[in-house]
């Protein structure tokens, strides 16, 4: 064993920082979270063991279920809308005869550069029910005011829009670089064979992007479940648009129900692990075909 270590000291040394940090700042906290979730620690005094009481409380807490439901909505809507838009915009940017492609690429990437919190404040003003620009435009079009952030039905929409607005550019860039790797000859050959643009898209573009799309869906999933900034800065009435992670943060660091918050953390971990496993299996099956 020591022989192996000695022989390969250099590569092991090079990858050591990551594993050290992972151990200290990811593994230990995750395991510790499991432990704290079984206590009713309030932060200041010593933790008292209380078994699965926190989980029982979570089960009947309708604020928790609301937050969970909201996060699922954010996840699914984000996944569908962002993937669709990213592929669409990347394809547009990949158009052979595009004039000013650098400008378009730069401008469409701008939303990702802007901090979610800062843009959230602006969106808050834009979506204001009485004075916001968006409602003004809607009024001019004859649709009338929409209570964006003041009603439980609509309050998730600004959050979704902010999320999509900010994150689409990033995925667009990734998919765009993937598109660049597809040789033009494929398309030329297909055109000669008489396939129209749509067919080319389905049969050439999408399959070639397979790995990248999979990577995007995993990343999007993890990011959606830890959504915080967007729902934090665009609060709606009650828990109508609180994300699960935000609820965990508020329980832990506003009210200091550490045990309770950790229980939510554990549930988050389990959900994420579960979804990732499902996606991995689905991908394996797809690859076999």
């Amino acid at each position: 064993m020591l022989q192996i270590l000695r022989k390969n000291k250099i590569p092991y040394l090079f990858i050591l920082p990551f594993f050290l940090l992972f151990f200290m700042f990811q593994l230990i906290p995750t395991v510790w979270t499991f432990y704290i979730s079984l206590t009713n620690w309030k932060g200041i005094s010593a933790p008292e063991f209380c078994g699965f009481e926190n989980y029982k409380k979570l089960f009947i807490d309708n604020m928790f279920w609301a937050a969970l439901e909201n996060t699922v909505v954010y996840w699914i809507s984000g996944l569908i809308i962002i993937m669709f838009l990213a592929v669409a915009i990347a394809s547009l940017l990949n158009y052979g005869h595009l004039k000013g492609s650098t400008i378009f690429k730069t401008v469409t990437f701008l939303p990702n550069i802007c901090a979610a919190i800062a843009m959230g404040l602006i969106f808050r003003m834009l979506f204001d029910e009485n004075a916001g620009l968006i409602n003004e435009v809607l009024k001019a079009m004859g649709i009338g005011k929409v209570p964006w952030l003041t009603s439980t039905t609509f309050s998730k929409i600004p959050v979704i829009i902010l999320n999509v607005w900010r994150n689409t550019p990033w995925f667009t860039m990734i998919i765009f670089s993937g598109l660049l790797n597809i040789p033009r000859d494929y398309y030329e050959a297909a055109t000669v064979d008489g396939a129209n643009m749509w067919k080319q898209f389905c049969c050439i573009t999408l399959p070639s992007l397979g790995n990248i799309l999979f990577f995007c869906s995993i990343t999007l999933t993890v990011d959606s479940w830890k959504l915080f900034n967007e729902s934090y800065i665009l609060p709606g009435p009650g828990t109508s648009n609180t994300s699960l992670f935000q609820y965990m943060y508020e329980s832990g660091f506003n009210i200091f129900n550490m045990g309770y918050a950790s229980a939510i953390g554990v549930i988050l971990i389990l959900i994420l692990a579960g979804i990732s496993v499902v996606q991995l299996i689905a991908r394996r099956k797809q690859e076999k075909i």
Binding site: G43, I44, M63, T150, T152, G238, F256
Partner: protein
């Protein structure tokens, strides 16, 4: 070969430890510097009486720090003999709850040196922090001054007979009304002395203005519970969230039905403009004469003066409407200056002295208030009886068309309702109750459903509150 290996391992560990060391040493380095400074000054201080060691005092406060800073800096200038090298720095937080969160987090993280030396707090958050032993007990210090302060100034900071904060301000819940609007539609403001009359006035306003003028506002967020509920209607209706043993009774309580029912009636009849308070949309509406009254704490004066100059001269203040069956006026909202328990509390004496002068030294207080007025900045009425006698606090105000806001604020403290009992579970309870109220304002449930849900959720998440006598 061996040497090379050892060298490589050493370099690796050195790099890693310097990085970790840098991280750790940054914080302790600063603290060590302060500690040595304090130790040196401490030995000096031991030789001279009551001279405070050099350093910076940190105070958590809400609002704009530079205004209070003015007073503190001037005070430090005058007291260079006992505090030759002391500075005061005010840290702005988003609210009293946030100050409490920060302090708890810091205590949690064991970084006692990072605790502020003092903080401004409201009763709910005093309750929370005193539970953790984080606030200095001021019962003894305050005792001799109580008779010189307005009635009940220290009540809301007293837990189990111990007072954990020095009273800073006691501001009543009052009724602001735009006299011009009332004159225009020929409605007599005096009818608003009761809540029935208040609602009647609202109806008349709506009819006569064809729906363009609202009686008041309602917030789609947490402010409705905070200002209309906990600080306004609930105490005046003698409502209860918990009973004497700490059980949840809000669902069956008659006072709650009266308080929230009144709000419900006003909202259902379209008398309240749904617009978040302290935001531009509402200020625009006020400036356009669309909102006629505000049933809120006296602190609202500062916001009106700053953002609604267009309505200067039109506002007046009167006592809150009363519920005829209860007969009590608006509850006072007290805020406190609390000294944080951190180790040896080096600056406690200095801060107590500072507080004393701020409350009782009329000259320095008046100078500061005059400066605040010029800058359109916030300032509260003094709470010491002697200072209140001064004619300065009866001076008329242009913004209120010649009425003396300061005098009215003092008068409105009379016959004030008692505040809701505070329990350590209140911070969490407020969140739960507000969530239901927000859903109600959004139109997704009736008030009856909201109250029932509040009751249900409080029982599920909190169970029983600890009543501190």
């Amino acid at each position: 070969m061996r040497k090379k290996m050892i060298a490589a391992l050493l370099t690796g560990t050195m790099v890693l430890s310097t990085l970790a060391g840098c991280g750790g040493s940054n914080a302790p380095k600063e603290e060590k510097a302060q500690e040595t400074k304090k130790a040196e000054a401490g030995t000096e201080a031991a030789s001279k009486e009551a001279v405070y060691p050099s350093g910076t005092i940190t105070i958590y406060g809400t609002g704009q720090p530079q205004y209070l800073q003015e007073y503190f800096d001037a005070w430090l200038e005058r007291h260079k003999d006992i505090a030759p090298d002391v500075k005061i720095s005010i840290v702005q937080t988003e609210g009293h709850a946030k100050s409490r969160e920060k302090i708890t987090m810091t205590a949690l993280s064991g970084a006692v040196d990072d605790l502020p030396d003092a903080t401004y707090l409201d009763p709910v958050n005093i309750m929370e922090l005193s539970q953790g032993g984080l606030l200095k007990d001021e019962t003894e210090f305050l005792q001799p001054y109580l008779k010189d302060l307005v009635d009940g100034a220290a009540n809301d900071a007293t837990v189990n007979g111990h007072t954990y904060g020095l009273p800073e301000s006691v501001r009543p819940n009052v009724l602001f009304y735009n006299k011009e609007i009332f004159d225009k539609y020929g409605i007599d403001p005096a009818m608003m002395s009761t809540f029935d009359g208040y609602m009647e006035a609202g109806k008349l306003l709506k009819e006569k203005s064809n729906g363009t003028v609202y009686l008041s506002y309602i917030s789609p967020g947490s402010k409705t519970w905070r200002y209309w509920g906990r600080r306004g209607l609930m105490p005046q209706a003698n409502a209860k969230i918990w009973d004497e043993s700490g059980n949840v009774v809000i669902g069956q309580d008659e006072g709650t039905k009266l308080a929230l029912g009144t709000l419900d009636t006003m909202y259902q009849q379209g008398l309240l403009l749904k617009s978040e308070i302290m935001e531009p949309a509402l200020y625009d509406a006020i400036n356009n004469g669309q909102v006629a009254t505000f049933y809120i704490g006296a602190f609202w004066d500062e916001f009106l003066r700053k953002n609604c100059q267009a309505t200067s001269g039109k506002w007046r203040v009167m006592a809150s409407p009363e519920f005829e069956s209860v007969g009590k006026a608006g509850a006072p909202v007290s805020s406190y200056f609390c000294i944080v328990n951190k180790g040896d509390n080096v600056y406690a004496g200095l801060l107590e002295q500072l507080w004393h002068d701020f409350q009782f030294d009329s000259e320095s207080r008046n100078t500061w208030v005059k400066s605040m007025e010029k800058q359109n900045a916030p300032y509260a009425n003094p709470i010491s009886l002697k200072l209140l006698q001064d004619d300065f606090w009866k001076a008329p105000s242009d913004y209120y068309g010649g009425q003396s806001f300061r005098e009215m604020e003092g008068k409105c403290l009379e016959n004030g309702a008692a505040n809701l009992i505070i329990t350590p579970q209140d911070a969490e309870a407020d969140e739960i109750i507000s969530a239901e109220l927000e859903t109600y304002v959004a139109g997704n449930q009736t008030m009856e459903q909201a109250i029932a849900n509040m009751d249900k959720n409080l029982k599920a998440k909190i169970g029983q509150a600890k009543i501190m006598k």
